[in-house]
Symmetry: C4
Subunit: 277 residues, 4 copies
């Protein structure tokens, strides 16, 4: 086994099998949520006018913490460039960059730029992706049924286009809301997915009859993806997954007793002995 | 086996395996429903003005009955304090307390206090929780898939924030309803869950296209919790559960032939011999 | 085996395993549908004014046919009174009675009576119940999960009452649509079932937050009945069912090779030899 | 094995197990999508006025390509008439015919004819049906549960007619939206499928109560088709299907190692040796 500097820090930051690692994970989760809520509130005009200063304090404090987290990750990982280029590395960098960039922009910004900056910063929520380790099983079930789901989507897509075109013909001349095929197809999607805003709705008896048929079809074919996914989940063996992260390629999803990474073959961290809390 | 006073009363009130116990359960269920309906009707102004007196009679009669039930439970259980501090004990107390408290308040109350008193009394519906014994199996299936469901919720949460932020950018400048990110995220939740009120709806072609994508994703990922839960229910052995309640710790969910409580080890009531009805 | 008069007629009318029986069934199905559509169209004012006479002709012709069918059933069944008192016998009688009763009413009727007569006649659609033989399997699965479903309904009922009461408090003072607890509970039902009319919708930030939580809960607990029902259907053996109807007690659902009725023990009709069509 | 001319072309166009065949399939998929999108955009007035010429260029180029594809299919298939009369042959012909027909029509067309031509050309989307090979498994599961689904639809149909008729009685006199039974039944379908446009909604307390009951029933019976379909998918063996198409009868869905067509017995194309890409 190779010696590795900063291993304790590595385990705390990247893994979740020590007490410190779990505390770090929960704290990071709460900080991300706080930060995203603060950024979302900033876009509400009344809140921005009343609490703008406080929100900016929160924003800068959390950006500082996330910057520190990013630098620590770079510092304790064995191959910093590989981390920096990985999906999680890019997300961690993009979570802090926009806030610093906003300093470079002139103070008086156009409304449109302000909006874009806000949206880009809210995308910080993607840092949550690192907590989706359990999604391996869901992902495998989705991949297993991917072809069936694509076939299903092609089928639903053809259905909404055909029904949308028919509605354009049936309702179009009298009902302004169905004045083009794309609008009718949008209505068909709103209906077949049972969302039903009601901003576009058929008014003629024939249109309503067609809509009723579409609703019942939509109601029935709902069963298809659910059945596909449930049968995939049931027939698939559900393996446990450890909290280890490969120090070389930073991938997760290893078996509980795995010693080498299943993706690149590098040696994994040994499971720590049980700590006294 | 220890002698126990009031055992007959205990079996009638706490368990459901004697004729008297079943009658008690059904009667209690009907009284709770009557009481909640009466309290709900009281908040409708026209009904309150016309039948206010009758509703108050019903309210006081039922409160008296529930008080009697609470006192009987305290009287016949072996350790009254343990019952009083248990979840069901607190719910039973809170079901009657607000009605008595309303006597202490000055006659002329502000509208806001009246409202709160009404709501607190409606929470009496939580007494129904004691009829959810069968929920043990559902609860076990939910716990078994809890981690998958949390991952799913984190995923859906990230999705609605990202899509909400994009809609704030796409629709925000022209459509007043998307004037802040929280409003856009609210719209995204209304859409992805297929509720679709229609009070907020996209109007630009780009916004509608984005909405259509979100609807189809929402339609598809609906399959995920259903598949998780169905597979959990199918792969899990479904044990029968007796109607016995541990006289010590008041917990349910014992196996049909259990002699000792599986939670605290105390001796359970023996199953009564079949009664002649 | 007992001799039985009218056996050929009996097989045609009550069973579906001869060519004549199948033709009779399909013809009856089409006549019921035609009749219900005609009765529904009669309630549309413009159609009634323009085609009132034609619709009344259809109505009287089909009533005559259904009367003949009822009399033939009475004639060829071994115990007419038992048929007349069975569920299907009552439905068959009620399908024709209102039309004859309308002759007795004075010609100039109040609008309210006309409405009720129309509705009662539309209930003729219940004659379709006799085609639901296949529902035996679904019914068994529903019965098998009945207790779980009741628990589920009690849980959803408590949820909508608690959330409705909270919304009455949060939104009620400012939003007229939440002015009483029953209205708020109605809104909660509309939301949790993802129907989402939009006639009642929260407007305050707190109310919208609460609504969002309710939607996501509703989205998630949708998985519960589906999972229950799917697991019940999967774990249950699916037996074939013959088209035989017991000539004594008129019950269906016999095994393909059954010789005696499983409900009353009477001898069943033998399966007819394969006919040349 | 019989010699066959144009076999290479046949494999490219009709099958998907060679590199050329896959490239052809993906290219065709993209061209169909492009063409349908262009036709849909043509119906939006502003886009038609600004980009009408470009859209017509795209339309004519793609029609030329689809015509070429159709002719090539006729040329390389062993029995052209059988292909021309098959479902896919008719769809391929109908995908190009309307565009040529539009040349024969007088230049100044009535709006109604323009609309119909647009709709007919959009039906070109049905060419996508040839990519639904994977649907064999879904189709088998649907067929397996067809009788249960018909029973379910008859049940839902009766439910919405009965509830619609009741609502016509309860709401009809005061609420213009429920002024006829067909309108009430349309509302019941919109509600039971959880679409919930909100263009028709009950207003009286009794009507709302009835609506709430219908919603909860709709919410619950949603579980039925899903459960049926999931159990059918789970209990059914899922066979792999090759990409071979029978050169005689043009049917798909053969087993991976099949040598003869399972529908007509003709010899299938041998699987090609692995190509170097």
């Amino acid at each position: 086994m190779q010696p590795r500097k900063h291993q304790r820090l590595y385990e705390t930051i990247f893994e979740a099998d020590t007490t410190a690692g779990k505390v770090f994970d929960v704290a990071l989760l709460l900080l991300i949520l706080t930060s995203v809520v603060a950024l979302m509130l900033e876009s509400v005009e009344e809140i921005e006018q009343q609490y703008g200063f406080e929100l900016r304090c929160v924003e800068w404090s959390l950006t500082a913490i996330f910057t520190l987290e990013y630098l620590l990750r770079l510092y304790c990982v064995r191959r910093p460039m590989r981390y920096a280029k990985s999906f999680f590395g890019i997300v961690d960098l993009l979570a802090v960059l926009p806030t610093y960039l906003s300093l470079l922009l002139p103070t008086i910004q156009s409304l449109s730029v302000v909006r874009i900056m806000r949206i880009v910063r809210v995308f910080r929520v993607l840092k949550l992706a690192q907590f989706l380790g359990e999604a391996h099983i869901l992902g495998a079930a989705l991949r297993g049924s991917a072809r069936k789901i694509i076939v299903f989507l092609v089928g639903v897509g053809s259905l909404v286009i055909v029904v949308g075109a028919l509605m354009y013909w049936v309702e179009g001349l009298e009902n302004d809301q169905f004045s083009s095929i794309p609008a009718s197809v949008y209505w068909a999607i709103v209906t077949v997915t049972t969302v039903g805003y009601g901003d576009i709705a058929p008014e003629s008896p024939l249109g309503r009859g067609l809509a009723a048929v579409l609703m019942i079809i939509g109601y029935g074919i709902f069963a298809v993806p659910t059945g596909i996914f449930a049968s995939e989940l049931i027939t698939q063996p559900q393996a446990d997954v450890s909290t280890q992260v490969c120090p070389e390629c930073l991938k997760e999803g290893h078996a509980p007793k795995a010693v080498h990474c299943q993706h690149c073959g590098a040696e994994l961290n040994p499971e720590p002995p049980a700590e006294s809390s």
